[in-house]
Structures are given as C-alpha cells and as structure tokens.
C-alpha cells in the first residue's frame, strides 16, 4: 500500500524521492517543523531480498548513535510491529553522483572532494562505524561543502552485533568500489572505506572506474591480483602526487593504504608534502606474469581486528608548534624528546611541525618575508632531523598570520590534529606582555594539548 499522503506518527509522508534496492525514500514533513525530512521505508513484501529487512534493522541500530555534520540528523523511527521507518534530516545538497556527468574533473576539485569525503569518513570511523558502501550516490554535500555520508544499511559498528556479517554469506556492496578484503567477507576494517574512496577519486580524476563495473563476485575479485591502469596513463594531466594518493588507497593490502581517513585528508590538503614512491611514476599495469603470480600466491589478507576508532588511536596526527625565535636549544631538545615519546610505538602516527610567522596583510609578498619563511622551514627541518622520521611521516609548515594562537588553532581544526605539543614561552616578561600562546591554544584547541616546559630550579 503506498504511503504517500498518509500521516504516520505525526509525519506527513510525501512522494517517493528515490527507489533503492532495499528501501524507498519518501519526502516527509511535520507540522510546525520547517526541517526538511526524509522517511526511509524498507522493502518488505514477500519475495523481496531478506537482506533488506536485516539491513534496515542494522541502520535502525546505527543511525540513532551517530551525530555530527557528516551524517543526516536522526529524527525518529518505528520498529517492525507496525510499519517500520526511519525519519531523518533530508540533505538537500547535490549528491556526488551528479558530478559524474562532468568527469574527468579538474585536479583541484578531485583533491577537494577527496579531502571533504575523507573528513566525513574520519568522523564516522571515530564513531565506531565502517560505512562499507562508499559510492557517489551515498555522498551528499551541504551548502558549505561539508560531505555527508548516507545509507548505513551495509555498515559495521564495532560495538554492535553485525547482523549482515553473520546472516549473509555473500558480501553486499557496490562492486566498482568494494575493497578486496570486503569481497572476502572482512567487514571491520575502516581502511575498506579508504579503498572505496580511492576508487571514487580514480573515477573523478580519469572518468573511468578502476576495475570496471563487474556484475559478479568472480569478476569483482580480480582486483585481488590485477592492478588498475595507472591514472596518469588514462589522463596525462594528473600530477604524480594525485596518482600516488589514489594508488595508495587502492593497495590490495589495507596495511599499505593510509592508516586513517584523517591522514588521507591531510595528504590531499598538502600535495607538496606527499612523499612520492614508485606508485607516482607508474605508467602501466604490471605485466601479466606478475599479476598471475599474485593470483596464484595471494598475499594473506587478515587485518587485525582493532575496531574503527582503535585504528585512529594507533595512527594519530600529532602537531608540534615551535617558536624557534623564542626557543632555547634546551627547550627545543625537551620538545623533541616529548614528541619522540609520543610517536614511540605508533608507526602509523605522523607529525606536522609548525611555525607561525607573524605578519600583517601589508607585509605579504615582501622579499624579506619570503626569505624568513624559507629560513624557518630550514630550521624546522633541522629541529626534526634527530627524530629520523621517514619521508611522508613528517611535514613542515610555516603559517603566516598575525596571531600565533589563532593560526595554530585553525591549523589543528582544518587538519584534524589529534594532539598538539608546544613549548611554554620561557621569558616571563614577554609572556606577560604578549599573553600565553600555549594557554590560549590549550583552552580552545579541538584536541589534547601538551605544553612542555623546562623544569625550573628553585
């Protein structure tokens, strides 16, 4: 029976906006509530895929537990004793699938979209959820460009029973984007979403999906051993750094992908700081003998089960803010020790070294300022050298801004920094005159802040 024009639990049900394989999406509204709403109703007629019900139950368990700008706001739901539904905020903005008409997209657009989606995935993974169906139709944008992930019917929550995993032998998902381990039934690894995002970026950058559109599981499984055509072979204009990022996402082994979505977003926002490997220069697929050897001797794909949020904890983005003009060698050494301890046993962690060059708008473009900028970069590198961090694990940033604390805070917000380390100003007079940068940062930062100070005698 069509629901349109009915009133259910106070919600006026409007027309069907989308008919999916497992559910229908209706426009919905509530008197005295201007919020645009969406009502999702599962397909439950006899003969429908039983997965539709289980998938809907999964979404009913997950959605009320999600919050933040990167998911539709959950409003209400009803269970299976009457007509089941989920009512949520309707995201008006365009779906990424609409951009597929324009592919290949300019490189800057690909990077910006990739970073926005990686931000959304980072937020989701922090909330214990692996999406497992990242594809253009499931990514919408708010008017300010924030990416919103929708449809959690195939998702895995690492603190809830995974009904889909146990009840269906075959993996569900969208074959052009599905990660190799997902095709083998692994559902708990957040890096599966990074693979899907890589496939998506490949499509946006080249106009083609990396593995075609296989209709069957067997065809989809080719990606376990057959590498995709390098993006730059399909489109000359793609820079080496973008190919590096895309092919890293598309690595068969999750361990060779970016450790977290936040780190992927970081790379897409700082292309000049990406450590290029052989991936960046690859011009053709591996020869067939190499590919067949992989097929006959596949690499074991058994990622350790640590949970989505656990993976982020193991691979944080650390940032150290050093005011080299104010820092004695001794404090610089203490700071380095602190950072070394924090990087310690976490090979997935990365470090951003920041220096704020105070400048006013009038001074921009000045040659002397440029010289100082370069000098500060050199000094940051010199400071970090004893840490012996591999290229790609450490990056250097001289921020030009009038206010040091604001610049550091902006950086931490934009780059999803997990932990900031900074030195306390040693000179008490300048602290009194200028105020404490560390104090303001510690008070307002979106993450943990460690303020390092040399122990005073007496």
């Amino acid at each position: 029976m069509p629901l349109t024009e009915r009133i259910i639990d106070g919600f006026k049900v409007g027309e069907v906006l989308h008919e999916g394989g497992m559910a229908l999406l209706h426009r919905a509204s509530r008197p005295d509530d201007p919020t645009p709403l969406l009502m999702k109703v599962p397909r439950m007629r006899p003969g429908e895929d039983p997965a539709a019900i289980v998938s809907f139950q999964m979404e009913q368990m997950i959605m009320p537990r999600l919050a933040g700008p990167h998911v539709p706001r959950f409003v209400a739901m009803a269970g299976f004793e009457a007509s089941p539904y989920i009512v949520m905020e309707r995201i008006e903005g365009p779906a990424l699938s609409e951009r597929l008409r324009d592919v290949p997209l300019p490189v800057d657009d690909v990077a910006a979209i990739g970073a926005a989606v990686a931000d959304a995935l980072d937020d989701l993974h922090r909330q214990h959820v692996v999406h497992l169906d990242v594809k253009p139709a499931n990514i919408l944008f708010r008017p300010d460009g924030t990416a919103v992930l929708v449809d959690f019917g195939l998702a895995h929550h690492d603190q809830l029973p995974d009904l889909m995993a146990e009840e269906f032998r075959l993996p569900y998902g969208s074959t052009p984007y599905m990660a190799p381990e997902q095709l083998l039934g692994v559902r708990h690894d957040p890096r599966s979403d990074l693979f899907a995002l890589g496939a998506l970026l490949y499509q946006l950058a080249t106009g083609e999906t990396p593995f075609g559109e296989p209709q069957h599981l067997k065809g989809a499984k080719r990606r376990l051993w057959r590498d995709p055509t390098p993006p730059r072979r399909r489109r000359e204009a793609i820079p080496p750094w973008l190919q590096e990022v895309i092919l890293r996402c598309l690595e068969v082994s999750p361990d060779r992908r970016h450790p977290t979505a936040a780190q992927l977003a970081f790379d897409l926002r700082h292309p000049d700081q990406i450590a290029l490997t052989a991936r960046a220069e690859r011009r053709r697929r591996d020869d067939i003998v190499t590919a067949l050897r992989r097929r006959l001797q596949p690499e074991p794909l058994a990622p350790r089960r640590v949970g989505a949020a656990g993976r982020i904890a193991a691979a944080p983005i650390l940032a150290v803010a050093i005011d080299l003009s104010q820092t004695t060698d001794e404090l610089a050494g203490v700071l380095r020790n602190q950072v070394q301890k924090m990087l310690g046993s976490r090979p997935g962690a990365r470090l951003a070294c920041l220096h704020v060059l105070r400048q006013t708008a009038a001074a921009a473009g000045d040659q002397a300022l440029r010289n100082r900028h370069v000098q500060r970069l050199v000094e940051l590198r010199h400071w970090a050298a004893p840490l012996h961090l591999a290229e790609g694990r450490v990056t250097f940033h001289v921020l030009e801004a009038p206010d040091a604390a604001e610049a550091i805070l902006d950086y931490a917000r934009a780059n999803r920094v997990d932990h900031l380390v900074m030195g306390a100003r040693e000179n008490s007079l300048s602290r009194r005159l200028l105020g404490s940068v560390a104090g303001q940062v510690a008070a307002e930062a979106p993450c943990s802040v460690t303020v390092v100070r040399r122990r005073r005698v007496g």
């Binding site: 019900i53 009913q60 368990m61 299976f80 690492d158 603190q159 029973p161 009840e167």
Partner: protein, 247 residues
Amino acid sequence: MRLAVLADVHGNLEAFRACLDHARARGAERIILLGDLVGYGADPDAVVDTAMAEVAGGAVALLGNHDEAAIGTAGTGMNDLAALAIVWTRRRLSDAHRRFLTDLPLTHEQDGRLFVHADASAPGRWHYVQNAEAARRSIAATAAQATICGHVHRPALYSLGENDKMNAFAPVSGAAVPLARGRRWLAVMGAVGQPRDGNPAACYGMLDTARCDIAWQRVPYDIDAAASKIRAAGLPAGLADRLFLGR
C-alpha cells in the same frame, strides 16, 4: 525505566556492593538479582542479607542452582570445588536466609522480557546458554522478545532474525546495544562475583526499558578483600586466586 540486572554474585560481598553502588549512581530504578547469590564466596550470609533488604525495597530476586543447592540437604551433583563451597555455605545460612532462598521464583516477566538464571526452555534444569544453538533452544521455548539470563559467567548477546538466522556477539563493556524489535534477543549477563571472561572486574547489565537497550557494565572492586576472606574461611585457595584472573 533503568533496570540493573545482577547475576552470579556467589557470596562476593565486595563485588555485590560495588555493582549496586555503580548502578544506583547511574540511575538504576530497579534491581533484578538473577540467581546464584551464594556459593564460592566467603560472605553468603551478608550477601543474602543485602539481597533481602533489596527485595524489601522492591527488587526482584530469582533462584539459581547454587542457591537451590545451598538450601538442600542432598548431594549437589556439582564439581568438587563447587560442592565443597556449598557444604561450607550451608553452615553459614540462617533459617531466615533459607526461607528467603526457598521462596525465590525461577523466572520473572516484565513487559515482554523474561528474566531467568539459566536456559529458559527448562529453568530448573540449569542448562548453560553458552553458544548460538543453546540460545536458539532457549529463545524458541518462550514468547519473550528478550530473555536475560546468567549462569555462564561470560557476557554474550544472541539474536534471532526473521530469516531464522542466529547472531552471536561479544558485548563491548559500557556500549549500549539496542534490543531492536523485529528480532528476538537473549542477553547473557557476566558475573558479579566470579567473572570468567578474563576480565576480573565485576559485571552486570543495565537495561533501559524506554530506549530498549542494554549495556554491560564493568566495575572494579576490592578483590584483595574478597580473596582474603575466602582464604581465611578455609575455602579452597583456587576460589580466591581465580578472582584476580577473571577465570
């Protein structure tokens, strides 16, 4: 309403008190004691006293197999360690304690939820629900949308979907799991007084009937005190040692 469900206290007064305090501090409005108040631990009398006071204040208490053995006189059919502890426990209980335990029901039903110490398909036979097949048998035997039991000393959550498939899940402590309608659920509480899942912290369940979800809580308690009393009572030292290991 928030219900705190405490199973398998086993004479461990320190763990019992810690869980009751923890639950009250988190808004528990009703306490349900899921059986096995006694056996193994050194404070059966004080635990039963506490339980009697709770019941007088509105709590529900159910019978467990160790409670049944402790009020009986015959052989227990239990393993040596458990039987030894029961013989010791019998001497510690007063007539009032025995009367209280004798009157405990095997099951309690509330809003479509069934509370029981062990397998609900034969509550007095004390079968363990420790795998999906046992859970299916228990679920199939009743009409309850959710069954909450203990007896196993290890937290677990099972559910049965409309397509007749069972799902088994190891709960994450502190994370509430919705007992979604459209499925039937069987939740196994961990043990308050003798956890056996490798985590020595006391375990109980917090059921939120408005939100229809359940969370397994882990509560640290003074294991040293509970273990010393077991040793001082002359009970087997293994009963004290295992508390530190959660085995």
